[in-house]
């Protein structure tokens, strides 16, 4: 079974925001609508301190909290583990926005629908690769099949000891190297 996931290596990320822009272009978002959010954290101890840039987005959780609270079943998970929103069912009640622990949900101004990262789903399958991965200038993002032990992402998760951003919150399919 294919189970899509992504790895984000913050050690390679330079914080150029190209992924966010590519995502906005690909998903026809307004400038203030972003599926990718950037957090800048102070890390280290004096005198060796640095600013860590951490991009976050929908973590495509297993048993996603946004999906379980959605009253209209607009939010669903594909067989390949991608959490999606069926626009034609969403009433914009924002319950998913409240339930998402990662603040990944965004209200689309034109329609009122609550959207989020969909791994550039085109109606049948994920983007190959999703636009944020394809555009990253430093190769900080890896996308692929978590169930295939030979895939780039599976190998990198092991070799770089990548982990979910907050392991105790949900069963996330985005892995971080920090």
């Amino acid at each position: 079974m294919t189970r899509y996931g992504m790895l984000i290596n913050t050690k390679k990320c330079v914080g150029c925001f190209a992924c966010r822009l590519a995502c906005q272009m690909r998903n026809h978002l307004e400038p203030e609508e972003t599926f990718i959010k950037f957090h800048t954290l102070e890390q280290g101890e004096y005198p060796s301190v640095y600013a860590e840039v951490v991009p976050t987005q929908c973590m495509h959780c297993v048993d996603a909290p946004c999906q379980s609270v959605c009253p209209t079943k607009a939010t669903y998970t594909t067989d390949s583990g991608v959490v999606l929103v069926d626009e034609s069912r969403c009433i914009g009640c924002k319950y998913c926005m409240a339930a998402c622990p990662y603040g990944a949900r965004v209200q689309i101004e034109a329609t009122g629908v609550i959207e989020k990262c969909r791994f550039c789903w085109d109606g049948e399958d994920v983007g190959n690769p999703p636009s944020c991965v394809g555009t990253c200038i430093s190769g900080a993002r890896t996308f692929g099949d978590l169930d295939d032990p030979g895939s780039d992402i599976s190998r990198e998760i092991v070799s770089l000891n990548a982990r979910p951003i907050a392991g105790n919150l949900t069963d996330s399919k985005i892995f971080y190297v920090r």
Partner: protein
């Protein structure tokens, strides 16, 4: 912030609607002669809930543009919101039917009132559980919030109905000791439950403590202390409690009427502010 004043209005109106329905049932049982107050409660219930539901639809923008999507709301029984839709689907028609029967001067069958009583409690409770199950916000995600909302709903419904009783049928209202006592006791219980919730939430997590601090000492402190605690709980407790438990006299003066109206209005303002503040002050759990 995910939700705003529109949802606070809805939560308040739905709660007060359930409370008004229960008040009417209570008045019918204990004071069959107080027709005006009973009718008032029966009319307030569907009107408040109706206004609340309109607020809800305005807030749900994608549904507002495509109203047929609202039918999907029954699809996920695992969601508290869907459960609330089920409850409202029973409560609203019952409340409407009782209002129409009252207006036609027909007798309301007691089985209908019993169905309404059960679903009025369900509606009042669901508004609390709606927020209570959201793990992201510690101020919401606790077992005390639904109880607080139910107590506040009863109190607000009672206040809305009492206000009408006070203004249109005062002599009778001033003799309804059981209603007045219930009201005083509800204010006291709400105060205790609110205090309990804030202490527990504050001790539970950093974000919970920060949320409570913003209410008690932070940016929401004026509304919290002045509006919710003083005007919404302490003042009504004293205003109602003084004649009921201290002087035990039937009030007839104009001054007492004005003071009582302020007390009832205070409960309503407090009931709305409770929901608004709980929505606005909640901070999400940090994940980074």
């Amino acid at each position: 912030m995910v939700w705003g004043p529109l949802i606070a209005w809805y939560l308040f109106l739905a709660g007060a609607s359930a409370g008004a329905f229960l008040t009417a049932a209570f008045v019918e049982k204990k004071y069959p002669d107080s027709v005006k107050m009973r009718v008032a409660g029966r009319l307030i219930a569907p009107i408040f809930l109706g206004i609340g539901l309109i607020m809800l639809m305005i807030d749900a923008e994608a549904g507002l543009h495509n109203p047929l999507r609202f039918f999907f709301l029954v699809m996920n029984p695992g969601s508290v919101m869907t459960l609330g839709v089920y409850f409202i689907c029973v409560f609203m028609p019952v409340a409407l039917a009782e209002a129409v029967l009252e207006l036609m001067h027909r007798r309301v069958p007691s089985w209908l009132t019993w169905v309404g009583i059960v679903f009025a409690f369900a509606v009042a409770a669901y508004t609390g559980f709606l927020l209570g199950v959201v793990q992201t916000f510690p101020l919401w995600n606790n077992a005390i919030l639904p109880i607080l909302f139910v107590v506040s709903a009863l109190s607000a419904g009672l206040a809305a109905t009492s206000m009408v009783g006070l203004l249109v049928d005062r002599t009778r209202f001033e003799h309804m000791w059981l209603v007045k006592k219930t009201h005083v006791i509800l204010s006291a219980i709400e105060l205790v439950v609110l205090f309990t919730m804030l202490v527990i939430v504050s001790s539970g997590s950093l974000e919970g403590a920060a949320s409570v601090a913003s209410l008690v000492t932070g940016q929401y402190a004026p509304a919290f202390w002045g509006g919710l605690v003083l005007l919404g709980l302490v003042a009504p407790f004293m205003i109602e409690g003084y004649p009921v438990f201290i002087t035990k006299k039937v009030e007839t003066s104009m001054t007492s009427l004005v003071v009582s109206v302020i007390g009832e209005a205070g409960v309503l303002v407090g009931g709305f502010l409770l929901r608004l503040l709980v929505i606005m002050a909640a901070l999400p759990v940090a994940f980074l």
